[in-house]
């Protein structure tokens, strides 16, 4: 089944991103979903597919009931975290092409700002192998896992702290151009970055993603139908998803520095009939600065070890040859498991990104990650 260019994203919606929201996660999910449907010019009665990663059975049906989806609907769950959001168009395309659904809503919210009280590693602490063989030795939490990778990358390839800082500074500049970015009013220079104390070397606070509340949603339908709707369709050119050996135990991974983007990106590019050189901008899963370097390498934008120099010289900033995370990403806009990146990519391809608009953007790439999983989504203007 050829799934390339068969469906399009026709509506997007996001709540305000906040450190702590004054309303529950369910309300955030519903607000974002309603906004996405309104953006598409569709109503709840049009929705016959719901993909709501991270929700329970009860929450899924509460979303449907509250939105007013009374008819039969298709649902599916698969990958997790950011990989779930970026691969949702794969599930939607399968369902739409198979005739199981016509209009699929994907929504994702997070309330880690309110719920986790700074303990974002809780999920990892609950894994018996980590509780037994890692935490008693200080190998915990995520900042340590990814700092370990960053350190090895620095040792093997000469990647520098200033190169990590270049990423943080670029995304902070992008956030300053967004009206919905948590760090919009918190400019950062490389000097300020380098003066920050370490949390887990080589990481400083500005290397780490935000912890916040919020939700986003997008609506997908068949490309032909999308042309009759309110917004310019943003076509799913290709989408791929992959998994790493050794699952959640990154410390054991045979190729320690590779994310599953080494599997997801070739699938997405093959489906789309495109190569990295055809991509005008990318929105990566930036849980830590160094992951930008790792994913650029894994997806073939540069070779392994060349990611440090690649991000220098303004290349990944707006105005550069390959802008990355133009809304500020998860480092400076909000940690939304790539949902914010899907919404921003759609805005860019509609040419509706205001002061952040990348001129002549035709093809954008969205990446989503969740430990052992990675998804790559290639989006483009309808032509």
């Amino acid at each position: 089944m050829d799934l390339s260019r068969r469906i399009a994203i026709v509506g997007i919606g996001e709540t305000r991103y906040e450190r702590r929201a004054d309303r529950p996660l369910m309300t955030l999910l519903l607000d974002a979903s309603r906004a996405a449907l309104a953006d598409a010019g569709l109503a709840a009665r049009d929705v016959d597919g719901i993909i709501a990663p991270g929700t329970t059975y009860q929450e899924l049906h509460e979303i449907a009931r509250e939105l007013g989806v009374r008819q039969q609907f298709f649902t599916a769950s698969g990958y997790s975290g950011g990989a779930a959001v970026a691969s949702a168009p794969l599930l939607a395309a399968l369902a739409i092409e198979a005739g199981l659904a016509r209009t699929v809503l994907c929504c994702r919210g997070l309330a880690w700002g309110s719920e986790r009280h700074g303990n974002v590693g809780q999920l990892h602490a609950e894994m018996p192998m980590k509780a037994t063989f890692e935490i008693p030795f200080g190998w915990y939490p995520q900042a340590v896992y990814f700092a370990g990778m960053a350190r090895r990358h620095m040792e093997l390839y000469g990647t520098t702290e200033a190169q990590l800082g270049t990423i943080a500074v670029a995304f902070r500049r992008h956030a300053a151009l967004s009206d919905n970015a948590l760090l919009r009013d918190r400019p950062l220079t490389l000097e300020q970055y380098l003066a920050e104390p370490y949390l887990a070397e080589p990481f400083r606070v500005s290397d780490c993603c935000l912890v916040n509340d919020g939700a986003g949603a997008f609506v997908m339908t068949a490309r032909e139908r999308a042309r009759d709707l309110r917004q310019p369709p943003v076509v799913v050119l290709g989408v791929g998803a992959g998994v790493s050996e050794d699952g959640e135990y990154a410390s054991l991974r045979p190729d320690y520095l590779a994310t599953a983007a080494v599997h997801s990106a070739p699938q997405a590019f093959a489906m789309a009939g495109l190569a990295p050189a055809d991509v005008d901008f990318v929105t990566l899963y930036d849980n830590f600065t160094s992951m930008v370097i790792q994913q650029l390498e894994d997806m073939g934008f540069c070779r392994r070890g060349e990611g440090g120099p690649f991000v220098e010289g303004g290349r990944i900033a707006l105005g550069g040859a390959l802008p990355v995370n133009p809304s500020g990403g998860q480092l400076a806009q909000a940690f939304m498991l790539s949902m914010n990146n899907v919404c921003e990519s759609v805005r860019q391809l509609r040419r509706a990104a205001g002061p952040r608009q990348i001129p002549d953007a035709e093809v954008g790439l969205v990446a989503g990650y969740s430990g052992s999983e990675h998804a790559t989504l290639l989006l483009g203007r309808d032509r």
């Binding site: 590693g121 018996p128 192998m129 509780a131 037994t132 063989f133 890692e134 935490i135 008693p136 030795f137 200080g138 190998w139 915990y140 939490p141 900042a143 340590v144 700092a147 370990g148 990778m149 350190r151 090895r152 040792e155 093997l156 104390p197 370490y198 949390l199 887990a200 070397e201 135990y249 410390s251 054991l252 045979p254 320690y256």
Partner: protein, 142 residues
């Protein structure tokens, strides 16, 4: 260097978890033991029902040399867990074993040389008793 004993005091493993009981029993008597596939000889790390080499399910806890090389490390400055306040900074590391470099252990690193750390540096296991049930295998730069 804060001792491993202090750092881990509040985050100790369950020595009775059947999957890892042999590991802690080995450490208690000063031996680093890992499960090894009886069919193909590959270490099965972390413990799993299926050998990563041949899929075999018959594994024997086997003593290893405890020598290895520094794979990567992190100097931790922030107390990410309750009980770590006042104990940072410390160095946590991944070590690959000479017995089979595909086996990596997370560990505390001690005797960090003044000249700094480099990946590939030789390290050797040392045993730090925490209580009468648990002894932590840490690694020293040698």
């Amino acid at each position: 260097m804060t001792s491993a004993r202090e750092i881990a005091a509040r985050h100790l493993p369950d020595p009775d978890w059947p999957v890892a009981r042999e590991f802690w029993e080995g450490c208690r008597v000063g031996e680093l033991r890992l499960p090894r596939c009886r069919a193909c000889g590959r270490f099965v790390w972390y413990p799993a029902a299926a050998c990563p080499g041949c899929g075999g399910g018959d594994h024997a806890w086997t003593r290893v040399s405890g020598r290895g090389r520094l794979f990567t490390w992190v100097r931790v400055h922030r107390a990410f867990l309750p009980g770590y306040e006042g104990r940072v900074p410390f160095v946590t590391a991944l070590v690959e074993l000479d017995d089979d470099p595909r086996v990596r252990l997370a560990t505390f690193l001690a005797d960090v040389p003044a000249g700094g750390l480099r990946i590939g540096m030789p390290v050797a296991v040392a045993f730090e008793p925490v209580n009468d049930r648990i002894t932590l295998p840490i690694f020293r730069c040698v």
